[in-house]
Amino acid sequence: MSVGRLILKEILHRKGHFLLSLLAVAAAVASLVGSVTLLEVHRRRTERLLAEKRAEVEAQAERMNDEIRKSMKKLGFNILILPKDQNLHEVYEKGFAEKTMPEDYVRRLAESDIAVINHVLPSLIRKVEWSEQRRTILLAGTRGEVKVRNLAEKKPILEAVPRGKAVLGAELHRQLGIRPGASIRLLGREFEVLKCLPERGNQDDITVWIDLAEAQELLDLKGRINAIYALECNCQTVDRLGEVRSEVARLLPETQVTEFQSQAVARAEARNLAWRNGMESLAAEKKHREEMQRERERLAGWLVPLILAVSALWIALLAYGNVRARVSEIGILRALGVRNARILWLFLGKALVIGIVGALVGYPLGFACGCIWSGGAGEAASLFDAGLLGLSLTVAPLLALGASWIPAQIAARLDPATVLGDA
C-alpha cells in the first residue's frame, strides 16, 4: 500500500469531490488560456488589418505614382539643369539655353547617390534653319533617359530616338504632310521619321528630335549638351526646389537648377499628401487597435486573477470538506504510526493530481473557447502554444497545492486521540 495508491483509491471513492475540485481548476486554467488566446487572436488580427491597410495605402500611392508618371509622359519633366552661367531670361525667351555643358555631367548624376531626382534626360537643343524645307525649327538631340544608379528601376517616360531616326512635332509633320516611315533630309543627312507627335501647344510642335550624338555632330558640339531634364523624386522637405538645388550643386557645381511644369508638381504634392493622409489613417487605426488590446489586457488583468482566487477558495473549501470527511481515516493512520508528512502528502498528492488533470482539461477548454469567441477557430493550429500549455501545467498544480495547503496542514496536525475518541 503506497500513498499514491491510497490517493487514487480515494479519488475513485469520492468522485464527486474530485470532479468539483477538477472543475474549479479547469475553470481557472480555461479562463487563463482563453484570455491569452483571445488576446493573441486580437493581436494577430491587428497586425493583419494594419498590414492590409498599409498595403492599401501603398497601392494607392503606387497608383498615384503611376498616374504622375503618365502625366509626366505628357507634360515632360519638372526640373531643368542648365549651365551655371546661362541667363534664364534668355531660356524663357528662346525656349532653350545658348550655353552648353559637358555631357559627362549626366554620367556624374547617374552614378551618384542622389535621391531627389530621377528620369534624367540629357539634351542638346538649338534653333536651326531647316534649309531643305526652308523653315526655322528647334533641333533636339536626345539619347533617352539615363538611369540613376541609386534609384529603383523605373519605366522611362521618354523613349530614346535611335540613330538615323527622327521624331517630328505636330506643326511640322502636319504642314509638310509627313507620316511615320517617310524619309526626310535634315541639314544634309537622311532620317527616317519614327513618330509624329500630337499637338502640344508649345515649342515641341516645331521641334525635330534626333539622336543626341547625331545632333552634336550636326551642330558641331561634340560631347556637349545644354540641358538636363529631370523629374523631382520624393523630397523630404517643403522646400523641394531648394533640396534639389542643394543636392545637384553638390554634384554639379557648374550648373543651376530651375523648375517648371507646376501641374506635375501639384500632382506629386497630391500624391505626397495622399500618402501622408494614408499613413496618418494607418497610425490612427493602429492606435485604436492598441487601445482595444490594452483594454482587453486590463480586463483580463483583473478577471483572470479573480477567477483564480475564486477557484482557489473553492478548492480550499472542498479540500477542507475532504479533511472533515476523513478525520477517522486520518486518526487511525496516525494511530498506526503513519507520520505527519505522509498524511500531508495524502492531501497534497491529491491536490497535485487535481491540478495536473485540471490543467489537461482546462487548457483545451479555454483554448477552444478563446478560438471560438475570438473567431480564430480557423487558425487554431497556429495558435496552439506549447509554452502556454507548460504554464497551465505549472500554474494549475501550484494553485491546487496552494489552496489545499492549509487543509492538508490541518489534516496532518489532527490529534488522533481526539479524532478517534469522538468518532
Binding site: E10, I332, R339, A417
Partner: protein, 238 residues
C-alpha cells in the same frame, strides 16, 4: 523478573471542563508484562480511555512517564514516537475505523503506509496469513461497507496485528458485536497474549473483562483491582 512491555508511572491528566479543570488521572501506575492480558473497567468519564490513549503514545500526560519496552516514549521526538508506536503498538477500536474505500486486504495492509518500501513483501504475506486465519478469505477484496460488524472488527484486529506489536490496546472492541463475534475477538486477543504479547483492554463488558487475566478498575483517577478476580486468559473464551 521480566521487563514490563508497558509501564506507566505517576500519570496525571487534567481536562479543562465547563466548571473548571477536571483531573481525570491522579498519578496512575501500571505495568503490563509480556503475555499478560489486562482489562480496565470503570464508569464512563472515569479516565480509562484517556489512560489508553496515553499508553498508546497518542496523548501526552501532564505528568508521569510511559515506558514502552523500557523506552520513555514521551521523551522522544514526535517522529521517533510515531515510529515506536508503529513498530510496537497495535490498536483495536469499538468503531473499527476501517478506511472505507480500501478492500479488506488493503485495510489490513494499511500499517505498511508507515513503512518505507522495505519489508512490504513480508507484511503482505503476513496480511494474507491473518486474513486466512481470521476467516476473511472470501471477503478479501470486499470494501468495509460490504462486511458485517464482526468481520469489520476481525479486519481491524488483523490490521492491528500485522506488524507483530508487543502491545495491543483495545478500546471496547466488542462494544458493537454480538456474543459470538465478541467471543471470537476476545479469543484472538487472548491468543495474542498467549503468544507473548501484552494486551490492555478497556471495556464495560463483563464478558470481555472475564477474558482478561487481570482486571483493574479506574476509580476517582486511580487504578484499583476490580472486585472479582479473573481466570487465566486460557479460559477467556469459555
Amino acid at each position: 523478573m521480566s521487563m514490563a512491555v508497558l509501564k506507566l508511572s505517576g500519570i496525571r491528566k487534567t481536562y479543562a471542563g465547563p466548571q473548571g479543570p477536571v483531573e481525570v488521572l491522579k498519578g496512575v501506575d501500571l505495568a503490563v508484562e509480556a503475555g499478560e492480558f489486562v482489562a480496565l473497567r470503570g464508569p464512563s468519564g472515569s479516565g480509562k480511555s484517556t489512560l489508553l490513549w496515553i499508553a498508546g503514545t497518542l496523548m501526552t500526560p501532564d505528568a508521569g512517564t510511559v515506558e514502552l519496552a523500557g523506552q520513555d516514549v514521551y521523551a522522544l521526538s514526535p517522529e521517533r514516537r510515531a515510529r515506536e508506536r508503529a513498530a510496537k503498538i497495535g490498536f483495536v477500536f469499538q468503531q473499527f475505523h476501517l478506511v472505507p474505500y480500501l478492500t479488506v486486504r488493503e485495510n489490513v495492509m494499511a500499517p505498511a503506509l508507515a513503512e518505507g518500501a522495505d519489508g512490504l513483501g513480508e507484511l503482505a504475506a503476513r496480511a494474507d496469513e491473518s486474513i486466512r486465519r481470521l476467516g476473511l478469505e472470501p471477503r478479501r477484496e470486499h470494501l468495509s461497507v460490504q462486511l458485517s460488524s464482526g468481520e469489520r472488527q476481525r479486519v481491524a484486529l488483523a490490521r492491528a496485528l500485522l506488524r507483530r506489536p508487543r502491545l495491543l490496546l483495545a478500546d471496547e472492541p466488542t462494544g458493537n458485536l454480538d456474543g459470538e463475534n465478541a467471543r471470537g475477538v476476545l479469543e484472538e486477543l487472548a491468543r495474542f497474549a498467549q503468544a507473548g504479547g501484552a494486551v490492555l483492554l478497556v471495556t464495560h463488558s463483563e464478558q470481555a473483562a472475564a477474558a482478561a487475566q487481570r482486571t483493574l478498575s479506574v476509580t476517582d483517577g486511580r487504578l484499583a483491582p476490580a472486585a472479582s478476580s479473573n481466570e487465566p486468559c486460557s479460559s477467556a473464551a469459555r
